[in-house]
């Protein structure tokens, strides 16, 4: 088993995660600890289990076996494996933020409403939610675009709205799946700057799936998967730890 060493107490501690789809093994006993304020890139070829690992860590889809402990500061430790779908859905919207390649913004809503929606679902009043959404959008360089509908925004602007939505709830862990995958290199770099500033720059954790080595090298740590096995775990500027799960 591969075990990675970390400097800070982990907010997410995954032990022996295993997940299969029929005869295909997507995760084969993955162990991973993610600490607060850390940015982690998950890399690997298509079908290596990157997205499955991200979904497992975020409580989107549970692994078949293994344990996954969420230990956020000031909150009770939670074993995601023990939560039902409803509880995990609530946990995701309250404790996690997400930025996906597709953006997953609601086309009928304005940029401001898309961001405010994340707060309103958690019970914040519409007036307060809209105010906070406007502030976050302005901080991300989208002042004046609050009332634009999603179809009226460029790809980079859409991703900034998605980042604003992931950030507005104050989530301490943000998951991103190819957040710059659909953008040109310049826009992608700008979006990545914003994403890193909003997350690790603010003391939060970022877990990001990417194919792009230039994106991965901006992260504190890079893990590589192959056929469901975690084959390497390296920190920027330090030696690469390479192992085999079996």
């Amino acid at each position: 088993m591969l075990e990675n060493s970390i400097d800070h107490p982990p907010v997410l501690n995954a032990q022996d995660l295993r997940r299969s789809f029929g005869s295909t093994t997507a995760l084969n006993g993955v162990n991973l600890k993610i600490s607060l304020g850390e940015s982690l890139a998950i890399m690997g070829p298509s079908g290596s289990g990157k997205s499955t690992l991200l979904h497992a860590l975020a409580g989107i889809e549970l692994p078949d076996t293994g344990s996954l402990i969420l230990d956020l500061p000031g909150q009770a430790r939670v074993d995601l494996q023990q939560l039902n779908d409803k509880a995990r859905t609530k946990l995701r919207r309250q404790s996690f933020g997400f930025v996906f390649q597709a953006g997953l913004l609601i086309p009928e809503l304005t940029a401001e409403e898309n961001v405010a929606m994340a707060l309103m679902i958690n019970g914040t009043s519409r007036q307060t939610a809209m105010m906070q959404a406007g502030q976050v959008l302005a901080a991300l360089g989208l002042a004046g675009m609050e009332q634009r509908r999603i179809g009226q925004l460029s790809g980079g602007q859409m991703q900034r709205v998605a980042i604003a939505r992931a950030q507005v709830t104050g989530a301490m862990v943000v998951f991103a799946d190819e957040p710059t995958g659909a953008l040109d290199s310049t826009t992608g770099a700008e979006v990545l700057d914003v994403l890193l500033a909003c997350t690790v720059g603010a003391g939060k954790s970022l877990v990001m799936v990417t194919h792009d080595p230039s994106v991965a090298e901006r992260c504190d740590r890079v893990v590589k998967l192959s056929d469901g096995n975690l084959i390497s775990d390296s920190r920027q500027g330090s030696s690469t730890f390479v192992g085999q799960t079996r």
């Binding site: 979904h55 997953l104 809503l109 929606m117």
Partner: protein, 441 residues
């Protein structure tokens, strides 16, 4: 490879697109069944004595005209779903170098073939439902075997459904962008202007004047019947002018007052396309119109029908008008409920990636479902209440007298409308994203 072969290759039943295909065929089956039962009911009147036919056939004609809108909406929903069901195949065809004309031809052929399968299933359903429909009583006796249409009328009805689907598919294509990479809905946000409302009000006044003075202009019953039928047809067009404007007004009001995520989302979904929102529930407005005007007329005639019955055809007319109103209401609501279920299911399937993605982000399916439900029921209630009020104003003396003289009949009609709205509400349960998107997992 000819277009027919291509259409078969791309549209043949496949496990991956089974749900929309079954939905589409079921929709056409419903259209055909309802159409055949309505025609069967109208056709049964031809067995009445000549004098009775003179009264019953025009009334049946009015009912058929009134049912055209919900039937067209249902047919259009089915056609759009049919085009949507094959979106990936159509995109692939574009990628392989297919021209826009070829895509259009393949889509229309597929829609027509699907409609043909649905219409034939509808004939079977009609034959299965006919015994039940034959129990409806007119002229003091059940319709009986007169509900069964001659084969040539059934053939024409099937052909009409197939033709409708082809025309709807061709029209629906204008709203889709079929690129080599995907099929997307053209997103425009038309804002219905107040001019629509003005034209509509003006048209209704003109219509009222025409109806009120009809007797002075001509004494020919045939001409009067034609003018009334044309007037109803014109009224339906007017409804479609004012409807989107009314829905957009209500949508804006809801947007202002929205407090919860589902209310906000529902208001935005309505405002995304007020015309589309209206289209889905226009049959409900029709039902309100039938309920108020037909219900008032039936109530007054019921009141006058207290004398001794001498078994002439006229004695049965008051009761039969009430039966006709209730049957028209029932059929209208069945059409609206079916088309709502189809449109909403198609919309849920279309938005599957977004709904699943939002669920991953932590938005409960129940929130999305509630927003989706409200986005249909708010326009439906607007249409129902709005047009009930408008129709009451139009026939105010008649409606007032009906309430006083025959409250039980009025109550019966109101209960029928409420049951209809409940049916529409229940029908869209099938489009619940949680059930539809997680089924079979």
């Amino acid at each position: 490879m000819n277009l027919l072969h291509l259409a078969w290759l791309l549209g043949r039943p496949a496990k991956a697109r089974l749900a929309p295909q079954v939905l589409t065929v079921s929709a056409y089956a419903m259209v055909s069944t309802i159409l055949l039962i309505v025609l069967g009911g109208a056709y049964s009147f031809t067995s009445f004595e000549a004098e009775a036919q003179g009264a019953y056939l025009p009334l049946a004609g009015i009912a058929v005209v009134l049912l055209v809108v919900p039937l067209l909406v249902l047919g259009s929903a089915a056609a759009r779903l049919s085009a949507r069901a094959n979106d990936r195949a159509l995109s692939s065809l574009r990628l392989l170098g297919g021209t826009g004309a070829q895509i259009s031809a393949v889509t229309v052929i597929q829609a027509a073939a699907t409609a043909c399968a649905g219409a034939l299933a509808g004939v079977v359903l009609y034959l299965a439902c006919a015994p039940l429909a034959s129990l409806i009583r007119f002229q003091g006796a059940p319709i009986g075997k007169a509900i069964y249409l001659p084969a040539w009328i059934v053939a024409i009805a099937v052909f009409a459904v197939v033709l409708l689907s082809a025309i709807s598919a061709a029209a629906g294509l204008r709203k889709l962008v079929i690129s080599p990479l995907s099929v997307a809905t053209r997103r425009t946000v038309p804002v219905p202007s107040w001019v629509r409302a003005l034209i509509s009000v003006g048209s209704i006044i003109v219509l009222c004047l025409v109806f009120l003075n009809l007797g002075k202009v001509t004494e020919s019953i045939a001409v009067i019947i034609v003018v009334i039928l044309a007037g109803f047809g014109f009224g339906l067009l007017v409804l479609n002018l004012v409807g989107p404007y009314l829905v957009s007004k209500v949508g804006k009001r809801k947007l202002k007052t929205a407090k919860t995520p589902q209310q906000l989302l529902a208001a935005r979904m309505i405002l995304e396309s007020p015309a589309e929102s209206w289209r889905q529930v226009s049959g409900v407005a029709m039902a309100s119109f039938v309920a108020v005007v037909g219900g008032s007329g039936a109530a007054l005639m019921q009141q006058s029908a207290t004398d001794v019955i001498d078994h002439s055809w006229y004695d049965y007319l008051p009761g039969d008008i009430l039966t006709g109103v209730l049957v028209t209401l029932a059929i209208t609501f069945i059409c609206v409920a079916t088309s709502s279920a189809i449109s909403q299911s198609a919309s849920t399937l279309d938005r599957a990636p977004l709904y699943s993605g939002l669920h991953r982000l932590g938005m409960p399916y129940s929130t999305m479902n509630s927003a989706r439900t409200n986005s249909l029921m708010i326009p439906a209630l607007t249409a129902s209440i709005g047009f009930a009020i408008a129709s009451t104003v139009l026939v105010l003396p008649l409606a007032g007298m009906a309430v006083i003289l025959s409250p039980l009949t009025v109550l019966t009609v109101i209960v029928a409308v409420l049951l209809g709205l409940l049916l529409v509400r229940a029908s869209i349960l099938v489009a619940d994203p949680k059930k539809l998107l997680t089924a079979g997992r």
